[in-house]
Symmetry: C2
Subunit: 136 residues, 2 copies
DNA sequence: GTTTTAAATGCAACGAGGTTGCAAATGTAA
DNA sequence: TTACATTTGCAACCTCGTTGCATTTAAAAC
């Protein structure tokens, strides 16, 4: 995986601690995180505005990918262009509230009726993950 | 398709003009609508609160289904239990900003790694619909 | 290392979107 | 028609995200 500073440099973005912190936090987590989860894990305290702007910048440059499970549940992961992964489904666990990439569930271009063209397909699978399987 | 009043009765919900109006509006439109689109089409003017509560009630009772394209784009359609349709993908047109059901694109239960179980899968296809195909 | 400059930050203020409590109005069953 | 639980509309409130602006900072030029 690329270094955060290198990612920012390639997109001609300044290397700021907020941006780097967001990228590092997502990398370390290994799963998609919500904005609040990222803020909690970041040491430094940033203004809400700074956070939103950093998110927007990273998202606009397709460094992070927004996964909208529900309008209340929005998670961020590194974009496929950074991770070099293929297009895949995302799994949302309704028990532990986590989102993870399902690389074994590829997403292919759908067969659409005449006249329709697609640029992107999002697949969200909701259920219970392997860690939450045997509830008491 | 069932009558709105019958739908409400079956769910033991009172038949109010706001609830009936929402259901009728979605039925007539033939495609998923946003809250604002529904409000505009409804004749009577309801308080914001009433609207939100009616939505929540209908959604809780699985009469309407929420399609979250993005956190900014949320549309509502009648649930499959009302329309008797099978599970299918939804198509979002990035040009005309509409959402329609893709009944020719069925959604089947995905093959997941050991230990994972799914209860629901959402497929959102983003692209350009048949009416927006030849832009000038 | 110093200077310079465009970009990013933090703060205050604002607006949209959604929720809660409560009194008044309404649907429905007796 | 009556009675009662539910729904409605209003006011107040909170959270979330944005904007303008002065200050600070990253990084390129010297």
């Amino acid at each position: 995986m690329m270094e955060p500073s290198q990612i920012l440099h390639e997109h001609q973005l300044k290397r700021t601690s907020c941006r780097e912190g967001i990228i590092v936090t997502i990398m370390d987590a290994g799963m998609a995180l919500s904005e609040n989860e990222i803020r909690e894990k970041l040491e430094g305290n940033y203004d809400r505005t700074t956070f939103y702007r950093a998110f927007k910048t990273l998202h606009d440059h397709q460094i992070i990918h927004k996964i909208v499970v529900d309008n209340q549940i929005i998670k961020y992961a590194l974009d496929n262009s950074v991770t070099k992964k293929n297009s895949h489904a995302h799994f949302y666990c309704q028990d532990c509230n986590t989102v993870q990439c399902m690389e074994t569930v590829p997403v292919s271009k759908p067969q659409l009726p005449d006249g329709f063209t697609s640029s992107e397909t999002e697949v969200i699978i909701k259920g219970r993950c392997n860690h939450c399987q045997n509830p008491e």
